[in-house]
């Protein structure tokens, strides 16, 4: 079944629409996921930082480095945690999980005595992190910094969205195909039938009202169009037939005898004869 140009145009438009919808959905989802995950990770990181802060008071005061280190290492294993380090009240890094050393960007991060602070940090070569700084003993003993990996978050978002978008696109295409089938059946087929009848009229084929009978019965605009079209086609055909009947042969009858007599009356007069003579003279003069 050929696909009419009109339908092609409509489908192309619908495809553009779908792509726009999918893109918009993806962007909104991505934005929402980013916000939610951010909240989750940050609160996770904050909770961890606070726990470590509380737990390490004694160890810090006792300067028990190895216990501190193993506590930090354990924390760094937690999903989403990139690094953990502790600074003392003088800003010196007491313990950390960086390999091999603490990056410059991170070294300068300070803490707030009153509350746990969260900020976004970018470290060249390592990526983006959310740094959560929790005060130990109100900042008297120093700060705990927990770095949550933003990259993991970003990847999670991407895979979630990709999956969703693909699913949406597949569903929409399926719906569009179904929709197109419906449109073809109800609209373009009748239109094609009308154009077929119009073309056959143009060629001069006899007009067959049965061709539009089914369509004319429809109660919608297409039915109306078919009825009007049918009336018009019948009129055109009738007019053509009338015209064909009227193109008569032009019959020219000349009474030859009468004509000969009339011609003779003119040409046999002396006047005409002298005119003929003059004609020869006039023509030679003019040459």
């Amino acid at each position: 079944m050929r696909m009419p140009k009109l339908l092609q145009k409509v489908l192309a438009g619908v495809l553009v629409l779908f792509v726009a919808v999918v893109v918009t959905t993806s962007v909104i989802s991505g934005w929402n996921l980013d916000r939610l995950l951010r909240e989750q990770y940050d609160s996770k990181g904050a909770a961890l930082a606070n726990d470590i802060a509380a737990a390490s008071v004694e160890t810090l005061l006792n300067r028990d480095a190895s216990t501190l280190q193993s506590a930090l290492d354990q924390s760094a294993e937690i999903q989403g945690v990139s690094y953990v380090f502790i600074v003392d009240d003088r800003g010196q890094i007491v313990a950390h999980t960086f390999v091999p050393s603490v990056p410059e960007a991170v070294r300068s991060l300070s803490g707030n005595r009153a509350t746990t602070t969260i900020r976004d940090v970018h470290v060249d070569g390592l990526g983006d992190f959310a740094d959560i700084a929790a005060p130990i003993l109100g900042g008297e003993a120093g700060y705990v910094h927990v770095g949550m990996d933003r990259a993991i978050m970003a990847n999670q978002i991407k895979s979630a969205i990709a999956g969703t978008s693909l699913a949406i696109l597949v569903v929409m295409i399926a719906l569009a195909a179904a929709g197109a089938m419906v449109v073809i059946r109800t609209v373009t087929r009748p239109i094609l039938r009308l154009t077929d009848v119009a073309q056959s009229l143009e060629r001069g084929d006899p007009y067959r009202p049965e061709a539009l009978a089914g369509l004319s019965k429809q109660k919608d605009e297409l039915g109306q169009l078919a009825r009007v079209f049918g009336d018009m086609a019948a009129q055109v055909k009738a007019r053509e037939t009338r015209l064909k009947q009227q193109v008569e042969e032009l019959r020219i009858e000349i009474d030859q005898t009468k004509k000969a007599k009339q011609v003779a009356e003119i040409t046999e007069s002396d006047y005409f004869k002298s005119l003929r003579q003059k004609a020869k003279e006039m023509r030679t003069v003019r040459e």
């Binding site: 000349i254 004509k259 011609v263 006039m282």
Partner: protein, 257 residues
Amino acid sequence: MAKIVSIHSFHGGTGKSNTAANLAALMALAGKRVGIVDADVQSPDIHVLFNLEEDEFDKSITDYLCGKCAIEEAAYDCSRALQLDGEAAVASAGLYLVPSSIRAGDIARVLCEGYDVNLLSDGLRHLARCQNLDYLLVVTPPGLSGETLVSITISDVLVVILRPDRQDYQGTAVTVDVARKLEVPRLLVVVNKVLPRYDLKAVGQAVARTYDAEVAGVLPLSEDVIGLASGGIFALRYPDHPLTQRYRDIAAKLMAV
């Protein structure tokens, strides 16, 4: 040397004046210098088509034939009629009308006294030389009177116009025979006022067969022409009308060798 074209019909009412005016205008638009003479003294009407008001012209062909003036005094320059909507006419072209007098007295005198037929032929040639014309269209009176015969005699082309009407068929047959006896160099037939329901091409072929002559054109009866009601020259008023194209085709045949 100007070519003299007589536009003739056996009966009146065939559309001679209208056809002649349209042909003259189209030939002028094609760049030719054209003169048109209303020699149909009995029914002066060409000046109406050219919108030449009765008080705008005081000399006519009638005056010339009565010896009252020189023929060039009765020729009026109508080339301004050619300028339409900014379309400039070809600079060298010209359109001159020698009208016929509408004064009843003049008409009666010419009809009664007749005129020296050589006068007409001399006058026409003189006019053609004066205005350096390429073509001089002479609309003759209907029928084959002496004056008409002279006009036909000195013509290079005779255009016979007829309607698809029994009277015209018979009359045209006589005209064609007489014209051939006068050895007119070229004879063209134009069928005018044909009802549109006829197949115009078939009509042309039937007429050509009947008179064994070249049919220059078949012109359908047009409501648009009747609507214009001699208010102007149809071909100038409706340059894109199919009828105007038919006039153009006839003009082209006239201008061909």
